[in-house]
Subunit: 739 residues, 2 copies
C-alpha cells in the first residue's frame, strides 16, 4: 500500500523527466520499466543501509580473517532471505600478512619507526583492534637490508628522470617515496628496476594530511599516525592470486611456486606515517629537491643519498587462505542465459567503512529492492547476479579467481558487469565500455542529485563546465552525452572487462568529500558518516543509479548497446595517439637541438649538480592510416546501426547476443605485449601508471616507451580489433533489417 | 704597465666579439671606445670591492642613522679621492622609526609575538646590533586595535575576490597577510580600503624559508626568526618624502601636515617572522583555505575570522631626519651640459650587504675606473654623475627629493639614468626605456659571463630558451634583440623615468641565488659572500656592464637611441590591451552566462560556505583605432630613422638633444588619473600591484579596474603621446638628412 502511493508520486515526477523511450524499449515497455524503477526507488532505505554499514564495519575484516568470513556469511544470509540462490564461491589463495616490520634510521641520528596508528578518543572504532592487520604492503617480498636513503618524490618515471639529471643513482640504496600520482605498486616496481634494495612508502601531509585540510578527528584528512596499507602486487602484469595466473584458484588448481610468481615485488616494501617519515626525511642531505617535489612537512626536502642510513626488515606470513565470494543469482524470467552482473567487494583493510562498505551497502539495498520487485511479480527478464567479492584489497583476487574459473560461461552469457566500490559524495563518476555510454547518460538523466532538484547528469555537466579543463568544458558544452571515462584498473571490473571482454562499468560519487582515511585505521563508521556521506544521501542515490542500470539491462527488449558514442571516443583516442607522437617528436627535436647547440649547457646553473637532460632518440613518423581507416569504417557502421535501430525494438535473441558479445571482439587471446593476461586492446591499466588507464594501450605504450619498432605491429592489431567491431556492427544492422 | 698588458690581452679577445661599430660611433670612434673599455675592465678589482662591501656592511646603516652618515662620508671621500667633484646633497625628510610594537594573541590561546630576530653563532654580523632598527614597516600609521583575525593569503585583489566568495568580510578585523605576489605596501592599502583595522605581514616558509630551500645559516633561505622590514608608504601614489610631493625636501620647503600625507597607511601595519606567525595562524578556524593559499607551516590553513582574537599596538618616532645623497660629478670634456647619470643607494635596512651594497660596490668600482680613464687622458665627452642615494628603503626618498629639487635642470640636461641596486648571480636582467633596448643588447654582447665563455646576451638567450614561457622562448628564438623589460618601481629609477621622463634603465644579475635574506638581520657580508656571489664574480661583471653602458652614452658621437625596438614593444603592449579587453569580455560573458543559467549554482559544493562569484558588468568594445594609427605612424617613423641614421655618425648637438629629450614626450604634466606625480604614459607601477609594471597604464588600468568610461579618454592620451614621439622621430630623421 505504501509502495503504491510512493509509486504514484514518483511516476508524476518521472513523467516529465523522461517522456522519451528508454534505450532498447518501446513506449509500453518504457512505461512498465519506469513504474518498476519508481517502486525500486521506494525500497531503498537509508536507515537499513546505515545499519548494515555499522554492523559490517564494526571490526577490521580483511580477507582471510574470521571477521571477513563472518561478514560474508551475514551477506549471504541476507541475500538468501530476499530470495536469491546464493553460493559461497571459495578460492584458495596465497595471502601474505605481516610478521616482522622494522624500519630504523641508523645515522646521522637514530630513530625507530613505530609503524603503528593511534587509537583516538573521538572514534570508538579505532579501539577495536582485534584481527587488525598492522600497516604493510601486501605482496612485498621478504627482506632485510641496510643502506643509504634516497628521496624519490612519488617514484614515477618522471621522477627518475629528475634524479638522473641530478646524477643520483638509487642502485644499492633504499628509496623513500610518497604515496600519490601513480598506483602504489608502481613505486617499488620502478625502484627495483633501477636497482634499489628496498622501498619505504609514506603519506605526505601535503597530499592528504593537514596540508590538504583538517586532520582526523577534527576533519577528514589523514591523522599524523595514519598509514595507507595496500597491495604492491604487480597488477599491471596480472591481478588475482599470484600463484594461478589465468586459472581459478580452486583447491586443486595448478600453482606456480611462490619464488616464480612474477607479481610479487623484487624488493621489500613497507609503508609508514608522516610522523614516522619526518625524522628520515629530515636526515637527508644533498641537493634540495625541485619545487614540485616539496611536501608539507616542516623541513627542507633533500634528495640524499644519505647521510641518512636505514635498516629495514620485512617478513610476512605466506599463508594460503580461503577467499569467500558471495554469489547471489536471480534467474531471469525470459532470458535466463543472459546474465547481468553487479559486483562490490566486502573485504576491507581495516574497518573499511568507506572502502568498500559504502558501495556494498548500496549494492545490498539494490539487491534487496530487485528481489522485492521480483516478489511483486516483476522478476527481471534476464538473470541477475549479485557478486560480493572477497580479497579485492590484496589484488582483485576474489573477482579475478571467479572470473578465471568461470571464464567460458561468462564469455558466453555475460551481458555486462557493473561494479561499485567505495563512494562518497558530490558528482556522479561513471567509467566503462563506451558501447554503454549513451545508455548510462540516459540513466543519470532520470535520477536526481539528492541535494539539488536537478538530475545527476545536469549536475555532472555543471561540474565539467565550471571545474573542467578546456577539453572537458567543450565536451560539456557541445556534446549531448557526457563522456564516461575509460577504465584502467583499481577495482573488480578488471577481470571482466580486460581479461574476458565483457562490457563493464564502474560507478561512484565523489569530488566533494576529499579525505585521508583510505586504507588506514581511520576508515571507520564514525569517519564516514560524519565527513563523507552524512545520512547516506549519496549512498541511496548510488543504489538508484546502478539499480536502474542493472534493471534496464535485465529487462531491455533489445540491449541498449550503441556504437556512435563508442566510435566518437575511439576517434578521440586515435587523435590523442597522433598528437602524442607529434608532440614527443617536436619536444625531442627541440631538446636535442638545444643540447646540440649548447643552449642547455649555457643555461644550466653551474652552482648546482643538475645536468642537462639526456639526448633522446628522434621520434619517427608512424603510419596511422590503418587505424584511421578502421575508425572511418567504425563510424559509418555506427551511423548505420543507429538508423537501422531507430524506432525498432523487436526482440531477437540473436541480435542481443551479437550486441553483448561485441565487446569480446576488442580482445585478442594473445593479450598485450609482455602481459598476456590483459586481452583488451582498447582499455588497459598502464604498465607504469598502475590504475591509470591507457587507451589503445598497445600503440600508446609503444610510443610512450619509445619502442618505435613495436608501433606499426600494434597499429595493425588495434586496427584489426576495430575492423572486427565494425564488421560486427554492420552485421547487427543487417540483422535488424531482416528482423 | 700592468694596465697596458691587460689592455692588449683584452683587445685580442674583444676584437673577435665586436667587429661591428658601436651604436652611434664610427669605426675609429668604436675602436677608441673599445680600447677604453678594455682599460676600464682591467681596473675593476674584486678584492677592493670586497673590502668596501665588508666595511660598508659592518653595522646596520639605515637612513637617519649615524652609521649611514658615516658610510655616506666614506663614499664621498672615496669619490673625491678619485677626482670627482663631490657634493653631499641633504634633504630633511620625515622618517618614522619603531617605538612600540606589540602583537598579542588573546584567544583562543595566548601568545605574545617576540618580533625579534636571533643572533647566530655562524654569522658574527648578526651580533652587531648597535643602531639596529627593530622589524617594522615604515610609514605605517600609529594605532592600537583589537579584533578577530582573518587570513588573507597575499592580500591581493584576487585574494579578496576569494574571501568574498566565502562570505568573509575583513571589516573591523585584523588581517594577516603573507609577503609576496605583490609589493608589500599594497597589502595594508587594500586591507584598509576593505575596512580592516590593522595588517600583520609575515614571511611564510613556503615562499622564502625552509620550504624554498635550506634556511640560514645552513642555506641561504629565511631563518625562522627572520622578519622582512620594508616601507608600506603608498608609492604608487607618489614616492619620496611623504610631506613634500613634487618638491625637493629642502630645509624650507613647503610641507604637508603629517595627518594630511596621503601616502601614510590608513591602518597600522607590523611584520613578523614565521615563528611568530605560527600560533596566530594555528589559532584560526572557519573554512579551510583553497589549495593555492596554503603555506608551508605544519598546520591546516584556515580563513578565520577568529576564534583568534588579536591585539596590536604600533607607535613610531615621527622624526625629521637628514638624508645624505652623495653626488659626484665628472665634467664632460666636450658636452658638459649633457649628463649621463648612474645611481645606487647606500642606506640599508640592516647591514644591507646584498641590498644595496652588492650593487653599490660595483658602482664604486665603476666610478673609480671611469676616473682612472679620465686621469689617463680619456675623460668622457659628456658629464658623468655618480649619485649614491640615501633613504631609498623607506620610499626612494633621497633620489626622489634630488630629482624633484633639480627637475628643471635634469629635464634639460639628463641624457639617461642608469640604476643599480642589490644584485646576486645568474643571468643579466635589464629593464628600462625601450629607446635603449638595442643599445643595451650591444653592450651585453660584448661582456662575457664570468662562469662560461659566452656573452651575457647569449647566456640570457639560453635562459629564455630553456626556462622562458612560450612568448619568451619565441622572442629568444626569433628576435635579434632580447627584450628589456618595462620598468614598474622598486628602486631609484622611478623619479627619473616616471616623474621626469628621462630614459632610464635598471641592471642586475639574478636567477641562480634565490634566498631569504631580503630586509632581514641576515643580509650580511657573511651571507652574501657565502651564498649569493662568492668572489664577487657577478659583481665585477655588473660593473663592466653598467660601466660600458655609461661610457658609451658619455662618449657617443651620436646618442645610441633607437626607435624600432621601442615601436616593436609598443606594438606588443597595444596587442596586450586588445587581448586583455577581449579575454575579460569573453570571461565575463561566460561567467555571467553560467550564473544566469544556474550552472554555477549547480556545481557549487553545498557542504561548504563558498558562493558563486559575483555577476560582473559586461565589457564593451573599445575603439583602439587611435592607438593603432599612432602605432603605425611610430613604426614608419622608426623605420625611417634607421634608414636615415644608417652609416652616418656626424656629431650634432641639436640632433643629440632631440634624441635624449624624446623620452620626455611620453609624459604629460597632468600625470596619470588620480596620481599626478606619475607623468609617464607608457610605464608606471601598478596602482594595485605596487612594483609590478603596467604598460600604457592609463588605458590598461581603466580596463582592468572596469572603469569603462575612462578607456576612450585614456586611449586618446596614449595615442597623442605616441604621435608626439613619432613626430619627434620624423623631425630627427629630417635633421639627419640636412646634416
Amino acid at each position: 500500500m505504501r509502495l503504491t502511493i510512493l509509486l504514484l508520486l514518483a511516476l508524476c515526477s518521472a513523467a516529465t523527466a523522461a517522456d522519451n523511450a528508454i534505450m532498447g524499449y518501446d513506449d509500453a515497455a518504457s512505461a512498465r520499466q519506469r513504474e518498476a524503477e519508481a517502486l525500486f526507488d521506494a525500497s531503498i532505505d537509508a536507515v537499513e543501509m546505515d545499519g548494515w554499514l555499522k554492523l559490517l564495519s564494526a571490526t577490521p575484516h580483511h580477507a582471510g580473517s574470521p571477521a571477513s568470513k563472518k561478514n560474508a556469511d551475514f551477506i549471504a544470509e541476507l541475500l538468501k532471505s530476499w530470495g536469491y540462490a546464493v553460493e559461497i564461491a571459495e578460492y584458495q589463495i596465497l595471502l601474505p600478512t605481516p610478521k616482522v616490520r622494522e624500519i630504523e634510521l641508523l645515522a646521522p641520528t637514530q630513530f625507530k619507526a613505530s609503524l603503528r596508528e593511534d587509537s583516538l578518543e573521538e572514534d570508538a572504532s579505532t579501539f577495536v583492534r582485534d584481527e587488525l592487520l598492522a600497516p604493510y604492503n601486501a605482496f612485498s617480498v621478504d627482506g632485510e637490508v641496510e643502506g643509504e636513503l634516497v628521496f624519490v618524490n612519488y617514484g614515477t618515471p618522471e621522477d627518475y628522470e629528475i634524479l638522473e639529471r641530478y646524477g643520483i643513482d638509487v642502485k644499492g640504496r633504499i628509496v623513500i617515496a610518497r604515496y600519490g600520482h601513480s598506483w602504489r605498486g608502481i613505486k617499488p616496481k620502478l625502484a627495483g628496476e633501477k636497482g634499489a634494495i628496498a622501498t619505504i612508502l609514506y603519506s605526505d601531509p601535503a597530499d592528504d594530511g593537514y596540508g590538504a585540510g583538517d586532520a582526523y578527528p577534527k576533519g577528514p584528512f589523514k591523522h599524523e599516525s595514519g598509514v595507507q596499507r595496500g597491495s604492491v602486487m604487480d597488477m599491471p602484469t596480472y591481478p588475482g592470486d599470484v600463484l594461478t595466473p589465468g586459472r581459478g584458484a580452486t583447491r586443486n588448481a595448478r600453482r606456480l611456486k611462490r619464488g616464480d610468481a612474477p607479481t610479487i615485488t623484487s624488493i621489500p616494501v613497507l609503508p609508514m606515517s608522516q610522523r614516522d617519515a619526518l625524522p628520515f626525511l629530515a636526515a637527508l642531505d644533498g641537493e634540495v629537491v625541485p619545487d614540485e617535489w616539496r611536501g608539507g612537512l616542516p623541513i627542507t626536502y633533500h634528495f640524499g643519498p644519505g647521510p641518512a642510513r636505514v635498516r629495514m626488515k620485512a617478513r610476512f606470513n605466506w599463508d594460503m587462505v580461503t577467499a569467500y565470494n558471495v554469489i547471489a543469482r536471480l534467474e531471469g524470467s525470459k532470458f535466463p542465459d543472459e546474465w547481468v552482473i553487479r559486483g562490490n567487494h566486502h573485504d576491507g583493510w581495516n574497518h573499511g567503512a568507506a572502502d568498500p562498505l559504502s558501495g556494498l551497502v548500496a549494492t545490498l539495498a539494490e539487491a534487496k529492492a530487485v528481489a522485492m520487485l521480483a516478489q511483486d511479480g516483476r522478476r527481471p527478464l534476464r538473470t541477475m547476479i549479485y557478486a560480493v567479492w572477497d580479497a579485492e584489497e590484496p589484488g582483485l583476487i576474489g573477482s579475478t579467481e571467479w572470473a578465471e574459473h568461470h571464464a567460458a560461461d561468462l564469455k558466453e552469457h555475460a551481458v555486462a558487469y557493473i561494479n561499485t566500490d567505495g563512494s562518497d559524495r558530490g558528482f556522479i563518476n561513471i567509467g566503462g565500455s563506451h558501447v554503454l555510454e549513451r545508455f548510462f547518460n540516459q540513466v543519470i538523466e532520470e535520477v536526481d542529485d539528492p541535494r539539488s532538484a536537478i538530475s545527476l547528469k545536469e549536475r555532472r555537466r555543471a561540474h565539467d563546465l565550471i571545474y573542467g579543463d578546456e577539453k572537458e568544458k567543450a565536451t560539456a558544452r557541445d556534446r549531448a552525452d557526457l563522456r564516461i571515462y575509460p577504465l584502467g584498473s583499481g577495482s573488480d571490473y578488471t577481470p571482466f572487462l580486460q581479461h574476458l571482454g565483457i562490457a563493464s562499468a564502474n560507478v561512484n560519487f565523489g569530488g566533494e568529500a576529499a579525505d585521508g582515511s583510505y586504507h588506514t585505521l581511520y576508515d571507520t563508521y564514525e569517519h564516514y558518516t560524519k565527513f563523507q556521506d552524512p545520512g547516506l544521501k549519496y549512498g541511496t542515490t548510488l543504489a538508484k543509479v546502478t539499480g536502474h542500470a542493472a534493471l534496464r539491462l535485465a529487462n531491455a527488449p533489445r540491449l541498449p548497446f550503441e556504437f556512435k558514442g563508442f566510435a566518437d571516443n575511439i576517434a578521440l583516442y586515435v587523435g590523442e595517439l597522433e598528437e602524442l607522437a607529434n608532440s614527443m617528436r617536436e619536444e625531442t627535436d627541440e631538446t636535442n637541438q638545444l643540447l646540440d647547440d649548447g643552449t642547455y649547457a649555457a643555461a644550466i646553473n653551474p652552482y648546482k649538480s643538475i645536468r642537462v637532460p639526456a639526448r633522446k632518440e628522434p621520434v619517427p613518423h608512424f603510419n596511422f592510416a590503418p587505424l584511421k581507416n578502421a575508425l572511418d569504417r567504425l563510424q559509418q557502421a555506427a551511423d548505420r546501426y543507429d538508423e537501422a535501430a531507430e524506432g525498432r525494438t523487436g526482440v531477437s535473441s540473436k541480435i542481443n547476443n551479437l550486441l553483448f558479445t561485441s565487446e569480446r571482439l576488442l580482445t585478442r587471446d594473445a593479450g598485450l605485449g609482455g602481459r598476456p593476461w590483459y586481452k583488451h586492446h582498447i582499455y588497459a591499466p598502464g604498465f607504469y601508471t598502475g590504475y591509470g588507464v591507457k587507451t589503445i594501450p598497445g600503440v600508446r605504450e609503444a610510443i610512450e616507451e619509445r619502442e618505435y619498432e613495436k608501433v606499426a605491429p600494434q597499429i595493425t592489431i588495434a586496427a584489426s580489433v576495430l575492423n572486427d567491431m565494425a564488421a560486427r556492427i554492420e552485421l547487427i544492422s543487417e540483422e535488424i533489417g531482416h528482423d
